[in-house]
């Protein structure tokens, strides 16, 4: 059992990461920073997915539902056209919390009842919700802009450097916050649910309450990511928010980085974004996505533990080498 207050030592990696990220804007061009911004958002979405699915094992295909709902609510309220017929245009500091609240509320209304149902049913139902929301957003064209979505939304801040600071700050705040939660006893219970839910239940814990806690954290994170992403891009559309590729990117980021680790998804988010961006000039259209899907498939197949698992193995190997042999507490 790790007591996170006493293990201040493990914060040193966070410090190194934060220092690196703070130096970055002074040495790289804005075009590179723009990729980092996308990577930060992808990392936020992946952390959100990891908090729920990576820890509890309830694979959600519906995270774009939460992200898209938050983004759409904030976009509809802040759009110049406003709500029709009464033209209300609210400022961002009101619409963004409302968007996050919509993600949490909508999620609790739809996802939580299905979390009582175990196994593959939850995954299928979450995908179904995603499809329904996507259809409704297209059908309710008067408010949501239909297929084309809403454009020219207000920005939170402008310029690559400002957006970089903003997205990096949010990403680190969320990551460290959830990392602390995941290292606490709650995180252990969530991992135990993934391994054997019946055992957790029979030791007197209400697994539903733990799942609900994980879900709310996940939904808040998804909502924050969703509204900031929407107002960074300045537009939202069903093709972007509810696309399978978007869903794939979130899941692949988490799995490639390492499920159930919070830190892994950050690496996964950066890997996925930089991989798809760096191949943009080399390969075109479908070839790029094909290459990306195949790489993702290979990592999932050969290294289900992801980058975090690989790093863990390497670190363990060095420890064993230094001490000259395998010791009991290092096996796991």
């Amino acid at each position: 059992m790790v007591n996170w207050i006493t293990s201040v030592k493990s914060f040193r990696w966070w410090l190194i990461a934060i220092v690196v990220m703070m130096v970055l804007p002074f040495i790289v061009p804005p075009s590179f920073l723009r990729i980092c911004i996308m990577a930060n958002f992808m990392a936020i979405f992946a952390i959100s997915w990891d908090m729920m699915s990576g820890y509890t094992g309830y694979v959600s295909f519906g995270h774009p539902f939460l992200i898209g709902l938050a983004g759409y609510v904030s976009a509809m309220l802040s759009h110049q056209g406003g709500f029709q017929p009464p033209h209300i245009v609210l400022p961002l500091y009101l619409t963004m919390p409302l968007g996050i609240a919509a993600a949490v509320g909508g999620g609790m209304l739809f996802f939580l009842p299905s979390m009582r149902i175990r196994g593959p049913y939850f995954s299928l139902i979450s995908l179904a919700f995603l499809m329904i929301l996507s259809r409704i957003m297209i059908a309710a064209g008067a408010m949501t802009g239909g297929d084309r979505g809403l454009t020219s939304l207000p920005y939170v801040v402008t310029g690559a450097v400002n957006n970089y600071w903003l997205s990096t700050g949010i990403m680190f705040a969320i990551a460290i916050g959830l990392w602390l939660v995941a290292r606490s006893d709650v995180g252990h219970v969530l991992k135990a649910i993934r391994m054997d839910e019946d055992v957790v239940e029979s030791s007197g814990l209400s697994t539903y309450r733990f799942k609900r806690f994980a879900f709310i954290l996940s939904a808040v994170t998804a909502g924050i990511g969703g509204v900031f992403y929407t107002h960074y891009m300045g537009s939202i559309s069903p093709g972007g928010a509810f696309d399978y590729v978007f869903l794939l990117n979130i899941i692949v980021s988490t799995v490639v980085g390492g499920m159930g680790t919070i830190i892994g998804p950050i690496f996964g988010g950066y890997f996925v974004t930089f991989f798809t961006e760096s191949t943009r000039t080399l390969l075109e259209g479908a070839w790029r996505f094909m290459a990306y899907s195949l790489v993702a498939l290979a990592i999932v197949y050969f290294r289900p533990g992801g980058f975090y698992g690989i790093a863990h193995d390497i670190a363990a190997w060095f420890r064993v080498k230094r001490r000259g042999g395998m010791q009991y507490d290092q096996v796991a």
């Binding site: 593959p120 049913y121 179904a128 059908a139 794939l248 094909m290 195949l294 289900p304």
Partner: protein, 284 residues
């Protein structure tokens, strides 16, 4: 009004047959291996495209084109099991994620080979017949007949043959089946091959029913989820009944309400079933 009702009756029967055919393989794989193959609907698309390619680009005669399409799908399904799923049979998260990525790989493969444009497949059987005063294409009737032949064939196979009984035994009690000498791996190999073949047949008719486009697998995928959940995961009879509920629901929505809400009602039924009876109508 009468014409609309007749139209719904006829089109609903056809769509339900196709949906049953698409969902059958999906539910069989779940029943035997407790694995959800998210790439299943992508095989349906692959079947349609391979048939189109053989028939209309290469110019191979119709029956042989069909056989090639079915064989390609069966092979793809078998390869998925052997190459991807078998290693992580007891890790549903990995199976979910990897078969989902595989579906997108197949999607991009289709885009790369055949492009994004829609393609029209020649009807398998040409001509029109009057049914209840409504003109119905012979292709639709053929597709309905083939669907029912395949479904009855699978039901007979599962009930009457030794291998079919082994499948049902595995679905009921895995350990008990293994103790009585059933090799689960062999049964899985056969089930995945059969499921792929059924997806191929469904693809041929689904392609000629609508048209071919790389996004055509989305709707069958979601509909087959809804069908297997309403019917009960792993139950063939349940799949058949649920396919008709969903098929008629969808036809009614498309013809009488709003084409854009296609699929929404089926998903709503699915959610109601999940809340009221989580194991589905026929699930155990």
């Amino acid at each position: 009004m009468l014409a609309l009702a007749q139209s719904i009756a006829i089109n609903g029967a056809l769509l339900s047959g196709l949906y049953a055919l698409i969902s059958l393989g999906f539910t069989m794989i779940y029943g035997v291996g407790r694995v959800l193959n998210l790439a299943h609907a992508a095989y349906v698309m692959l079947g349609g495209y391979v048939y189109f390619h053989c028939l209309q680009i290469v110019g191979i005669p119709e029956p042989i084109s069909m056989l090639i399409a079915i064989a390609v799908c069966a092979g793809a399904s078998l390869a998925t099991y052997v190459g991807l799923v078998r290693r992580y049979l007891y890790n549903p998260t990995i199976v979910f994620v990897s078969t989902f990525i595989l579906a997108l790989v197949i999607n991009y493969l289709v885009v790369l080979i055949w492009g994004m444009e829609t393609k029209n497949v020649w009807p398998v059987v040409s001509g029109l017949t009057q049914v209840m005063g409504q003109p119905v294409s012979n292709n639709m009737i053929a597709s309905l007949v083939v669907s029912w032949v395949c479904i009855s064939g699978v039901l007979l196979f599962v009930r009457k043959t030794h291998m079919g009984r082994a499948m049902r035994a595995l679905a009921m009690d895995r350990k008990g089946a293994i103790v009585s000498g059933i090799n689960p791996d062999r049964v899985n190999l056969l089930t995945w091959t059969m499921a792929g073949g059924l997806a191929g047949i469904a693809g041929i008719f689904f392609g000629s029913y609508t048209y071919l486009v790389p996004a055509m697998w989305h709707m069958p995928m979601v509909m087959s989820f809804a069908i297997v959940i309403i019917g009960g995961l792993g139950s063939i009879e349940g799949t058949l009944v649920a396919a008709h509920i969903v098929g008629y629901m969808q036809t009614t929505t498309t013809l009488a309400i709003d084409e854009r809400l296609r699929g929404v009602f089926a998903l709503i039924i699915m959610i109601i079933v999940l809340v009221v009876r989580p194991k589905g109508l026929f699930g155990k």
